[in-house]
Symmetry: C2
Subunit: 198 residues, 2 copies
């Protein structure tokens, strides 16, 4: 299977690559990887997909949102959050569709803050929930058997240090299990699903 993996060099991306060993994985990154694209730019995504078509799967393991107390979530922080993790992934999905092979798949990423809330996490929850809605609603409009799913991992063990203090009492998950969830979405037959990895 020919799989395009965006954010392959990140914490999650590495586990996805590992889980999908044996397949043809093309890594896509803004500043590293086999091919370059910026999820914030529709044009760069379109050019990328045109060049690499046809392919069987696109999976994303990238996307940023702002973390700040509600009164400090200003216009700029919202713009960054909606522009990167939300619209970046929506654009990725929309631009990939015409170039995916029949029964190909799209796999996006949300996160545990969809379902559980922390101080300074308002933008993360807002964006994650939006993405899950996008996936569930767009699944019913797909043609040619194209599937779309989303992985919602809790805090990864690899990231516990970086996020220390933000997630009190959250039990971190081993990264390889997140990789397996991507594998389930890509090699399986489900569509419109939120795969929570807790």
């Amino acid at each position: 299977m020919k799989i395009l993996l965006v954010g392959a060099s990140g914490t999650i991306g590495k586990h996805v690559s590992e889980a999908l060993k044996g397949h043809e994985i093309l890594s896509i990154g803004r500043s590293s990887g086999d091919h370059r694209a910026d999820i914030e730019s529709r044009e760069s995504l379109r050019a990328l997909f045109r060049k690499l078509a046809p392919f069987d799967a696109v999976a994303n393991a990238s996307g940023h949102v702002a973390f700040a107390p509600l009164p400090e979530l200003d216009a700029e922080k919202w713009k960054h959050s909606l522009g990167n993790k939300l619209m970046g992934q929506i654009q990725l999905a929309q631009e990939a569709i015409p170039y995916l092979s029949e029964r190909g798949s799209i796999t996006l990423v949300s996160g545990v803050l969809s379902d559980e809330f922390i101080p300074s996490g308002v933008a993360a929850t807002t964006v994650n929930r939006a993405l899950e809605g996008f996936v569930e609603a767009s699944a019913i409009e797909m043609q040619r058997g194209i599937r779309i799913n989303i992985i919602s991992p809790t805090l990864l063990k690899d990231s516990e240090k970086a996020y220390e203090g933000f997630f009190p009492g959250f039990v971190a998950v081993e990264g390889w299990k997140v990789g397996q969830a991507y594998k389930k979405a890509i090699l399986g037959a489900m569509t419109g699903q939120i795969l929570r990895v807790l």
Copy 2:
């Protein structure tokens, strides 16, 4: 109770006004009402709230999203949907907070397409789910007992004609029940809740 009602002249707004009779309701609209403001403009909202402060509740019954098949949901339609119904309401909430009285409340609106999906409804589902996430997550960060909730009505009887064909099999609800849900959110004590009106 002094209540600011945005979108008072709309289908839902009229039912909210009716349900809250006996209270001091200040109607806010872009082109009609006691006071003018555009939810897409943080500045106009801030000026409005400064002028009318203090108040006990802000309720919104306005907001547009684009309806289009997924391949036609282009950058402009996303920008409109995220800018109006999503960021318009987020800005409304954020800008109102400093001017709300203690234990005051914010009431936003999502809709049934959060939970049930129709063709051409991807932007509506995405935006509604984002708003519900925003409300649930921001409720835990509120100070001074300020509350925030969101009303998710299904199709209203008053709107059945306008949306004919879009919602096959959806059983429309009588508008007065939506008015009651706003009343429950504003006069009650709940926070971080999604009030579905089906």
